[in-house]
Symmetry: C2
Subunit: 310 residues, 2 copies
């Protein structure tokens, strides 16, 4: 077992949501109408809007109930395509995957704000930087705010009623002042947001206090970071499912159809690449995985439902 425990993230997470919720005595499970000790699980597809292949796979997973939530990368080329689907299926649980990076080698994008107004976020070609480290080095807080606010406003203009905010590659968590903006926008738009606990621990004390008083820690999230040769996808995920406990769990998945488009996007990146994403999709919609969830008495929930009870 040890062999394939290492590649799996199991990081305690801060689920940030308004104070009103923190002050309630009822557990989240109870607020959602479940027994207090229920193992709630959000299965969350990242990167919607990235490519046609990702939209198609995410829609398939939504429709087969393989995922209970997802989030969209507003600056990416296939955002308008997903928004069209969403307008025809407004019950879909989709948040905004706030994006400040463009990590692929040959498939790039920049911000949606005028480049001259967010120049600290962009490389010499007008694309976002590839890494969170570069965002941390170059980005100015006011330009981060301008761009992520524009992404939220664009999603609203496209007719999307977002269920939550999260952030692509954790880029909005690159610096404490960005985290502060992120929390502020979550409150302003009345949207739940989240961040790994480790980020909060690196925060200046005042800010941490604010975060701790305004928001409430919910539980843990899980994400496959590395495949292990010889170990089946199901076995990699089984370990995570087995580790889920009462309260709110989140499993982050990366979906796509393994085709030329996704292979081109993810060239040179086997991790989170085209085959990887097809494996995630195949697993989530498999009978075996559905049965595994049942066997462990796991209750799927979405951000949308959580937002509604806050």
């Amino acid at each position: 077992m040890k062999n394939f425990l290492t590649p799996i993230s199991s990081i305690a997470l801060i689920l940030l949501c308004p104070l009103s919720f923190a002050q309630e005595q009822k557990s989240l499970a109870e607020k959602l109408g479940y027994a207090p000790e229920t193992k709630l699980l959000i299965i969350h597809a990242d990167d919607i809007g990235l490519a046609q292949s990702v939209n198609e796979a995410s829609i398939r997973a939504y429709e087969k109930k393989g995922i209970s939530s997802g989030s969209i990368m507003v600056p990416c080329p296939w955002t308008n395509d997903f928004a069209r689907y969403y307008r025809e299926h407004p019950q879909v649980d989709v948040g905004i995957h706030l994006t400040l990076t463009a990590e692929w080698d040959y498939y790039k994008w920049g911000g949606i704000s005028p480049a001259g107004e967010i120049s600290s976020l962009l490389d010499e070609n007008g694309y976002f930087y590839a890494s969170v480290e570069e965002v941390g080095q170059h980005a100015k807080a006011d330009e981060v705010e301008k761009e992520i606010r524009a992404q939220i406003e664009r999603a609203l203009a496209l007719g999307i009623n977002p269920s939550h905010l999260d952030t692509h590659m954790g880029s909005v968590l690159a610096k404490p002042e960005f985290v502060q903006i992120y929390m502020k926008l979550g409150m302003e738009y009345k949207l739940p947001v989240f961040a790994p606990r480790m980020i909060l621990m690196g925060m200046p004390e005042k800010m941490r206090e604010m975060a701790e008083s305004e928001f409430v820690l919910v539980d843990r999230f899980f994400m496959l970071n590395e495949a292990t040769p010889g170990v089946s996808w199901m076995d990699l995920y089984r370990v995570m499912i087995e580790k889920m406990g009462p309260g709110l769990n989140q499993l982050i998945v990366h979906l796509a159809i393994d085709n030329k488009e996704m292979q081109g996007v993810a060239i040179n990146h086997p991790a989170f690449g085209s085959k990887w994403r097809q494996n995630d999709l195949d697993l989530l919609i498999s009978k075996e995985f559905q049965e595994l969830l049942k066997e462990h008495q796991i209750q799927l929930v979405g951000w949308k439902e959580i937002k509604e009870v806050l």
Copy 2:
């Protein structure tokens, strides 16, 4: 026959190239080493860089000698992918498909210049307008120049040695002052450019004189504008091939693999859509089409060869 003659454009074209060439007595065919009455034909793939599907189809057509030239849309998401291929295959004949429009419903792009510097080219979301008419209504000449110059410079920076300039949907031909910029940039970068004769006829006299003295009319181009139910793709193209005469002919084609990506890009647009583009590809690389060219003693040439003899 009449039924399927109507949908085919057969427009006399101005191929703009430097005066030095115009003053030569030798025909283009002779300069290229062919007999003076040779029917030269450029088979030209538009829209490279638009989508993975388009890049894959264009590369297949280059490698099977189904096309002799093509041009790349620098602002589109798959430009860097094609540039990677080009750097490994620098013999490929590719020009720059100067782009000022984004015509698809849900798959959009803007310019590569900072939006604040080309605001007359962009809609409220920062995308190019969908139609040439809107470009004509809104675009300021200095911003057109800034953006198309940026597209040329970006292609050069990506390691592309362009064979020529042309323009997506004719958008750079929307107004005489834009045509002037287009010609000026062709001269500055020593690249052949072209425009339909009808554009030159609408030009102010002085400009037309300049164009006529600086550049030389070469011949005709052909492009399928509309499919005709019940008429095979081969029959539609046969009519065009039969109309080609001595001198320089250009056939513009639109290639893609008919898949979900291209179907998503071209949703609601059967003309120049996904199936259409697959038909073009299948036709060009078919034995029957290759034999048709032989039968009509047509000699394929590229813009690259023409540029070299100018």
